[in-house]
Structures are given as C-alpha cells and as structure tokens.
Amino acid sequence: MAETSACDVAIIGGGPSGLAAAMALREAGVAQVVVLEREKQAGGIPRHCGHPPFGLREFGRILSGPRYAARLVETAERAGIDIRRQHTVVALHPGGSLDLATPDGTATLQARRVILATGVRETPRSARFIGGDRPQGVINTGALQAFTYLEKQRPFARPVIIGSELVAFSALLTCRKAGMQPVAMVEANDRVTAWSPYALAPRLFGVPLLLETELIEICGSGQVGRVRLRRDNTEVLLDCDGVILTGRFVPAAELVRSSHLALDVGSGGPVVDQHGRCSDAAYFATGNLLRPVETAGWSWREGRRVGAVVAQDLAGDLPAPDRVLSIERGAHVKLTVPQRLALPRLGTGLGDFIQLRASDKAGGMISISCGDRVIWRGWRNTLPERRILIPLADLALPEGADSIRVSIED
C-alpha cells in the first residue's frame, strides 16, 4: 500500500530556489515545510559547479558551488526543514496532491500548497538535431561537471566546446581544473554570447575561439574522433575526443507538462502570475524552472520571495484576483515572466518587475502596449540571453484591459 501523508507546503526540488523558499516559509512561521529532492543530496546544480562565485548575496562571501550548496542545506536543516532525499515527484494532481517515488516504493503526499522548483538543464544533442555518428563522449556541461566534481572521472581529454553562453566558460574552467585541454570553443554567432570580458578567457587558456562557425557533424565509432565544422562555407575537420554541448537551457518542466497546469510556450516553464502562482492556485513556481536561465543568487532570492508570498496565502492574505491580465509576447520577445498579472493587487512574489528575454538581435527600444495604446517605452540592452527588467510600478495599466503586449522595436 502506498503511504499517504500531509503537510502545509511541499517544495519540489532542493536547489537554491527551493531551499530559499523553505527558509522563508519557516521564518514566516509555517509549521510543516517539506522539501522533496530526488537526488541523494540536496543543493541542486551548484553541488557540481566546482568553481566560485556563489553565495555573495546569500552568505555575504564567495564560495565554490559545492560549499555553497552544503551551506544552503545545513542552514535549512538547522531551521527544522524536513528535506526528504531520494524522493522523486512523479505526478502533480489538482489541489496539491503529489505522487512520489521513494526507495520504499510509491507514496502520495497531500500539501496545502506546492512550490515547484525543479530548475533547468541544457539542450541535449538529440533536440539540436546534430548530425553524424552517435559515439560516446557527447555530453552537456551539467554531465561534465558531474563527471569531474561528483565522480572524479574524466570522460575525455581533448573536447571541443560548443556554444559561448556563460556556462560554456564554466565548461572551460571545469576542463582546465580536471586536466582536460579543450581544442576549441565554437560559436555560431559573430560574437560571444556571454558578456564580452569572457571572450578573453579562451585565449587566456590557449583555446582557439571559433566564431561564426557551425557544428555540422560528429564523427567516431566508440568514442568521438573528430567534428566537422563549417565556417565561411568551408568545412574543416577538427580532431577531438569529446563534444561538450553547452547552454541552450530549458526548464525542467516535465511534471508541469504532464499535469493539469498550464505551460508557457515562451519560457518553457509553468504559466505564473506575479506572485509565482500557477494556473491551479495550490501551485507556485520559483527559480530557473520559470525561465532559462538565471544565476543561483537570483534563483535564491526568487525562492525567498515566493516562499514569503505562499506564507501570506496560507494565512489568508493573498485573495483570489478580481481579474487577470495576460502579458503577451510581441516582436523579438522570447519570453516574459510572469505571463499574467493578478489584479488589483500588484505586490509580488517574483519581484517588482516583468522579466524579459529577447529572441534575436533587435534594437534596444522596448514598448508595452494595450490595444493600440503604448503604455510604456524604454531602452534596454536587448542582446539574447541578457536579463531585461521592466518595473511593474512604472506601468499605467488601463482599467478593464485584459491583456498587454511587450515588444522590442526593430
């Protein structure tokens, strides 16, 4: 027989965001806060980011990922938070009822509120439609870090790094630290995706940076032997024994996708209002599940805010909205978080702003309109993968409107 239990708040995912939410709930006096974590260890992705800087915002000092994760877990457990490790949530049901897989078999848990905090991962080879053979040694940064920091193994010696988001530089550092020498960093665009200072890093480590270069094919039987690249219409073969596919983050939203909750096409995460509340009011979401991708510090702060709002909700201080206004994506907008605003109350769980990402290189002028009326305009750095924030307080939301549209002008 499956065991059933109950709690006030169940948090799915024991990463920075989930643990921060748990702390905020405890501090607000919520009694039974349970964190469900499927791994043997809580702490989330930072557990295997063996490099600084983590923890500045949370602990006022610079820590490595694993030390930071350990600190988060210790702090939570000292505060009496019940972290249930090796507890995998396998299904979400209306009203906060969860199906679990545990080492003792299946179980169910009924929570008054659930906070989803399952994080992000990188896009694997398959979903990128990369051609060629399917040898061993084609992995994401996350797996690379798990190999080197958790299992102390080296999956290869001379990999090529694909992509130049921030995480590609983590891959570079990870390789260097574990004695692997990347043969190149390859980026399809004409500039490095991460902030420009990072463009110097490969050169610092003697790794060629190949811009405007596309990965065509992976070759090798057994282990990777080389990759075929295309640059300026010419193809080159590059010998290597591994391929690290970095970035192109996607929210780990499988539970949402297979549940009754609404999923947002733009962000890839659940549809939420400014409190982090999902389409079923028993569910909230926080952290990188909401959008690809933010830092640990950001996710932690988001977790604290959403935790605080859920505590208010349990205390009856977050009434159902009078009306809901949807935020639509216009030109060049890849995603917005939230996707709806619960009115009239604007106080928020996610922060006092709309988060935005650009879908492609466009001008920097952002406009928000309601029907034909522009209600806000402003300049921002709109390079892809950059955080763009628009203060909610600046928006003069017209009476009776049921949607607004955010666009980036050409």
Partner: protein
C-alpha cells in the same frame, strides 16, 4: 584472461564440439539459437561486437507486424505470421510486453485514397481478416489529434508495439538457460570445413561446430564469401533515421499511423513506443557503409516537420532522441534463406520485418537443418525479462530498488546491477542502455551519465 562467459566459460566453449554455430547476435540469430536449444541441439552464438544487437537490430520501429502488406505467398509473410503467433504465445512466460495499438494506413490525398482498396484486398488475401476500411469520421473519432487533412484509412487492429531489445535478449537468455553458449567479441574471420564439421576462427579462439547458420545481417554476404567462397546475395544497406518525442506526446496518439506505401519503402510511420514516447521515422536511404548509421540534420528536420503535419499537437513537445538503423536489404526484395553446401544455412536479407519474423525464421531454419541433436529437452526454462514498458509496473514502484539513477526513465540501481550481472551481462554502454534505458530519456544523460559511468566502471565486458 578467462572472463566468465554467458552459459559457460570461454574455455569450455572453445573445447567443445557444437552441433550448430549461429553467427551473428541480432534478433534473428538470438531467435535461431533459441529454437535450436529448445530442439535439443548444442548451439553456440558468435557475435562480433561486445554485446548482442549491435547491427540492424539496434534501431528499428519496434512494430509487431501482422504481415497485412507483405507479398502474398512469400516466405517473408509466412515467417512474419508464425513469428507473430509465437511471440504472443510465449511473451507472458518471458515477461515480454505488448502494447495493443492497432495500425491505420492513412490516406492524405486522392491518390492515396485510391490505393486503400488494394491495400485492404491484400490484407485479406494475407489472412489478416479483421482489417477494414474506415472513413474520416471514424478515423478522427479514434485519433482526434490527427491533422484534419486525413481522408480515410485501412485499420489493421492486429499491429502492435513491442520492446525491440528485451525480446531478443529473452530469446538468447532462454537459449542460455537451455545449455547454449554465447561468445561476444568473437567476429568470425575465417573458417574451414572438413566434411563433417566447421572450424571457425575468432580472436577469442577456434570454435568447432557441425553446422553453421549465417545470421550476420549487414555482413552476411561478406561472411559467406570469405568462408564459402561465394554468396548469392549482396547486402545493400538501407538507412532509416528516427526522431523520438518526449513522453507527453504519447497522450496525442493511440494507433500506429502508417502512410500509404510507395514502391521503395513502407514510408514514414508515426507511433508510440512501448517506453511511452512517440517516434517518427524511418527514412529509407541507400548507402554503401555497413557499420555507420549517421544522422543528418536536414533529414531529422524533415521527419520532425512531417510528424507535425500529421499531428499538429506535437509542435510544443520536445524531442527526446534521434537515432538511425540500417536495414540489411539486398538487391532483391525477398528474404534470402537457404541451405548451402557444406552444412551451411544462410539467413540473409532480413530487411525490414525481422523483429516480427525472427521466431518464425527460427522455426523455418530448424526445419531446414538435418544435423545432429545432442539431447532432447524436458519442459524448458522461461527466464523472465525485467519490464521496461511504460504501461506496466516498473521496478521503481517496488521497495528496495536502491535508488533511482536515471530520473527521466526512472531506472533504478537494482535494474542497473541486474543488467551488469546475470547470464548475459551488458557488454558495452549501448548494451547497458538497451537493457535498462538509463540515459535514454529526455535529458540524454545530463543528470545521470556520470553516475551510470561510475556504477558500471570496469564492469562492462562482453
């Protein structure tokens, strides 16, 4: 170093006089070895790769076909239908899954629609008597997510989905339980016949056997030319690429959706998998290479687009996997099964229906065999396969599984340990995946590959 070998030690396998050596551990070789073992022949399976299922049997659509569209009166049809029946008869004892879906050959144009009657007539001629024509309304009532351009279909209720890897593993496991042996990393490179038995050379030593059955799939003609000096068929590999959608897609589809076939191929199928995903494929691309089934971005994008044309609701669902398989096609359409001189039976050209037909082919081959049988068997043993099918109870639901190692596919430590031990442990990382599905889910090893590698380090050897 003498490694523990499937069934017996390699030393014992080399020292013995076998009745039959089956060359090639694809689904056909596994089924043939099983049938010989059940009939009381002393049989050894020789596989060149570190694990079984390294060739054509590694990547297929996993449909258990009724034979409704096979050439009437052909050996292929006969083997498919006996194979189909035997699978249903034995599957419960071996704990092999079946997902009863039925198939619909869907017409998308006038031209397609005009062909449906012919398809139906052929199905009836092939004794698939429950096949029937359905109109657009019935089709869309059955499959509401199908694009509205669908016109009509021939419904074939008996087409089902199976586990393409557990089935052959079960066949060879039963053979092993009945005294057979399986030697991996053992490519047959040469051989000689002395009038009574064959001496087959492999890097692991010489194997002596009265009869040889060539089940070498994509290398069948090469093998035969090098050992017999000639071969009456020529392998012309035909690649099939696939795109697999994440499990959320399975809710959009029940029936296997087949296109109206063209001259060259059965065309692109869209169906669920027994593991709870949806796949679209295969392409049909001729190529000279026998061992390289490489992926091609443009083809994958085309497949993806064609899936979305048939089922628009797939658009937001992420892609989980891409893969390709090679069909051991020949210059002709039909199976190339026959007795050759020098105690040699060749089983060639088992092109695109071998998963279904394997058990039937095995019956046919044993009937062609006129050699010795060492022992007669009492009631055989029925080794039970671990279940990986999504619609049936899985190990993670049972207490004591240790831990969940692969989160996407919910693969447990106990399942991985089991695959690394037992009579035929996984021989390489691919073999471990096929036995457990670890790393085959949506994250493709983002979370678990390092952990799986650590668990299996030093423990994978065929």
């Amino acid at each position: 170093m003498a490694q523990p070998e499937a069934g017996m030690t390699a030393q014992a396998a080399l020292g013995r006089n076998w009745d039959v050596a089956v060359i090639g551990g694809g689904v056909v070789g596994c089924a043939v070895a099983r049938r010989f073992a059940l009939e009381g022949a002393a049989v050894i399976l020789l596989e060149r790769a570190p694990d079984i299922l390294a060739g054509a049997s590694k990547g297929n659509s996993a449909i258990l076909h009724t034979g409704f569209d096979a050439p009437p009166g052909s050996l292929e049809l006969r083997c498919m239908q006996t194979g189909y029946r035997e699978y249903l008869e034995i599957r419960e004892r071996l704990n092999l899954p079946l997902l009863e879906t039925g198939a619909a050959v869907v017409a998308w144009s006038d031209e397609d629609e005009a062909k449906l009657d012919g398809i139906l007539a052929q199905a009836h001629e092939n004794d698939v008597s429950d096949a029937r024509r359905i109109g657009r309304d019935e089709l869309l009532a059955r499959e509401p997510n199908l694009a509205p351009q669908a016109r009509a279909a021939v419904l074939v209720p008996g087409e089902h989905l199976i586990d393409p890897w557990s089935a052959p593993l079960a066949y060879i496991s039963q053979a092993l339980a009945e005294g057979a042996a399986c030697l991996r990393n053992a490519p047959v490179t040469a051989g000689s016949f002395d009038g009574a038995s064959w001496r087959l050379e492999t890097p692991r030593g010489r194997i002596t056997a009265g009869h040889v059955v060539n089940c070498a799939g994509l290398h069948g003609d090469e093998l035969e030319r090098s050992l017999l000096g000639e071969c009456d068929f020529e392998i012309r590999p035909r690649k099939g690429q696939f795109v697999v959608f994440d499990k959320a897609a399975a809710a959009l589809l029940r029936t296997i959706i087949l296109p109206v076939p063209t001259e060259r191929s059965k065309g692109v199928v869209i169906c669920r998998t027994i593991f709870g995903n949806v796949l679209v494929g295969p392409t049909a691309e001729e190529q000279p290479e026998r061992d390289r089934a490489n992926l091609d971005r443009r083809m994958l994008e085309e497949l993806h687009a064609s899936a979305l044309r048939m089922i628009p609701g797939l658009a937001p669902i992420p892609v989980t996997a891409t893969y390709a398989g090679l069909r051991p096609a020949t210059e002709r359409k039909e199976y190339r099964i026959g007795v050759k001189e020098r105690n040699w039976i060749s089983v060639g050209g088992i092109r695109s229906t071998g998963l279904t037909a394997a058990l039937g082919i095995a019956q046919h081959v044993v009937a062609l065999y006129d050699g010795a049988k060492t022992a007669t068997r009492a009631e055989p043993q029925w080794p039970r396969m671990p279940n990986l099918a999504d619609h049936l109870p899985r190990d993670w639901q049972q207490p004591g599984h240790g831990e969940i190692v692969c989160h996407c596919e919910l693969v447990t430590r106990r399942e991985i340990e089991q695959a690394l031990t037992g009579p035929l442990p996984a021989g390489d990382p691919g073999g471990l995946k096929r036995r457990t599905r670890a790393g085959m889910g949506r994250c493709q090893g983002f979370y678990c590959s390092a952990h799986v590698a650590a668990i299996s380090a030093g423990r994978l050897h065929g």
